[in-house]
Amino acid sequence: MQRIVHKHPLAIRWFHWINFPVLSVMIWSGLLIYWAYDPYKIQIGDYTLVSFFPDGFYKFLGVSRRLAEGMAWHFVFMWLFILNGILYVGYTFISGEWRHLVPNKNSFREAIQVTLYDIGLRKTQPPFIKYNGAQKIAYFAIMLMGIGSVLTGYAIYKPTQFSWLTSLLGGYKAARLEHFLLTLGYVFFFVIHIGQVIRAGWNNFQSMVTGFELVKPNDPDRPVQNKPVSSEPDAPTDTPQEPIEPTHTPALS
């Protein structure tokens, strides 16, 4: 027999995988738009540390002189991005999935421990149920960033009709910069995310497709739950707690 743990509900998997091509189109078309006016750079004194973006970058990607095309794709696929985002956020909160996602007061300490573990400065990582502290912060931040992209996007899409929103975000120029920074954030997230998914291995990756993970019969991280999980913290009892025994599956499996 095979133990499985149901990790990702079907709806979450749909939202995740729909978001992938949609956000890709948004970032790509956004780059076509950004090319037409590309003033952002990181400067130290007069020295330009990073320029967004060098000519070679545009040339390599072939994005030059494609503003109209970029705007068309951007203002079509934005609706899918918004719709998918609303459904994702709505589902997460209605289904209770948010309990796995929203960081709590321990998440930041955990995230530091996870980071130390990831870079090899710590032997063990803190226990977690679905996502560790670092994941909770990252995935919750991505959700907030999505909301931020829609708001900053609308602020530059209709700055007169929604001038209150544009003003709230610091004006038209500021909103455009914020919209750009959020996009850099997605690219940064994507790179880390892909790296971590590769690191975590096949069983973790396939759960985003199948919904479940296979559990080894005696996985110390996932002791058998033979009792309903109590929401009360464990109170000290007189009787010694039974050691958790790994289930012995028949040899035939």
């Binding site: 027999m1 095979q2 133990r3 499985i4 743990v5 149901h6 990790k7 995988w17 091509p21 738009i33 950004y34 037409a36 006016y37 003033p39 503003l67 109209a68 095309e69 705007m71 068309a72 794709w73 203002f75 079509v76 609706w79 209770g96 309990r99 796995h100 929203v102 709590n104 149920i129 679905k130 209709k158 700055p159 007169t160 009709q161 001038s163 544009t166 003003s167 004006g171 038209y172 120029k173 455009r176 396939q206 497709v209 199948t210 919904g211 479940f212 296979l214 559990v215 739950q225 999980v229 929401s231 499996s253």
Partner: protein
């Protein structure tokens, strides 16, 4: 904050787990074909004025949505004169590559009515408005600029333009209004079409001054459109001809793949 629940578990025969996995990956592969199909469909669609037909259709739908919340009471934020750029940026010379004609007149055409020819003095006779606002280019840059001129809505009212009946436009009788106003440079090298609601916006100006001086040739002398509810591309320079229509007038940049409405 309620405590994070454990993830539900199951114990199943290996064969069942394997079958579920194969099935999930099968569906995943099938579903992956959808975005590829959508992309190919768009790519292989016929063009509609420089942009693929499905995208153009959605851009037009976006216009319908935007028009539901467009309002004459939504004003572009204005600034003090001191905040305006001393040297306003020039961008684009289509339609103004020849010298300004000495005998410039504004030619106004309404279907079934005699054309009207006006001089710059006729325009200047109307109450002057000054406006300092952030001009926004479709390329993405913006600049605070100080323009002076007359309200297009005042102008239409004074000369009883923009209506089928020949009366002054009445905001309560929108059926009488032509749906579009078209503008062209004298050489017809640049042309725009603007929905009448945007044209009637109180901040839409027929401008003849920039920073308190008559507009230079590069900025569209002697008379140009300043329309803050649109990107710069609709702010036609050196207006030669103004006309009214119920169908969309041709539009220079819309013919080159841009959205027709480009409302802000």
């Amino acid at each position: 904050m309620s405590q994070e629940p454990q993830l539900p578990e199951d114990t199943l025969p290996e064969s069942t787990a394997r079958r579920r996995m194969l099935k999930a990956f099968g569906w995943f592969a099938l579903a992956s074909a959808v975005p590829v199909g959508v992309y190919e469909w768009i790519k292989n669609s016929p063009g509609a004025q420089g942009v693929k037909r499905p995208l153009r259709n959605i851009l037009n739908a976006n216009e319908t949505i935007a028009r539901t919340y467009f309002s004459n009471t939504h004003l572009v934020p204005t600034y003090s004169v001191a905040e305006a750029a001393k040297k306003a940026r020039t961008n684009g010379y289509d339609g103004i590559k020849t010298p300004v004609p000495d005998d410039w007149k504004l030619q106004i055409e309404t279907p079934n009515r005699a054309p009207l020819l006006l001089t710059i003095e006729d325009v200047k006779a109307l109450p002057k408005q000054e406006m300092v606002y952030e001009f926004k280019c479709v390329e993405g840059w913006s600049q605070i600029q100080h323009w002076g001129g007359v309200r297009l809505s005042d102008f239409l009212e004074k000369y009883k333009l923009g209506t089928h009946s020949g009366n002054a436009p009445d905001p309560d009788n929108t059926d009488d209004l032509f749906r579009y106003i078209g503008l062209e440079t004298p050489d017809k090298g640049y042309y725009v079409g603007i929905d009448i609601e945007s044209a009637m916006h109180p901040q839409t100006l027929l401008a003849y001054e920039l920073n308190g001086e008559p507009i230079s040739a590069g900025h569209g002398a002697p008379l140009r459109l300043i329309i803050p509810v649109k990107y710069g591309v609709k702010n036609l320079k050196r207006i030669g001809r103004m006309f009214f229509a119920d169908e969309r007038p041709r539009d220079f940049w819309a013919e080159r793949g841009y959205d027709y409405y480009v409302g802000l």
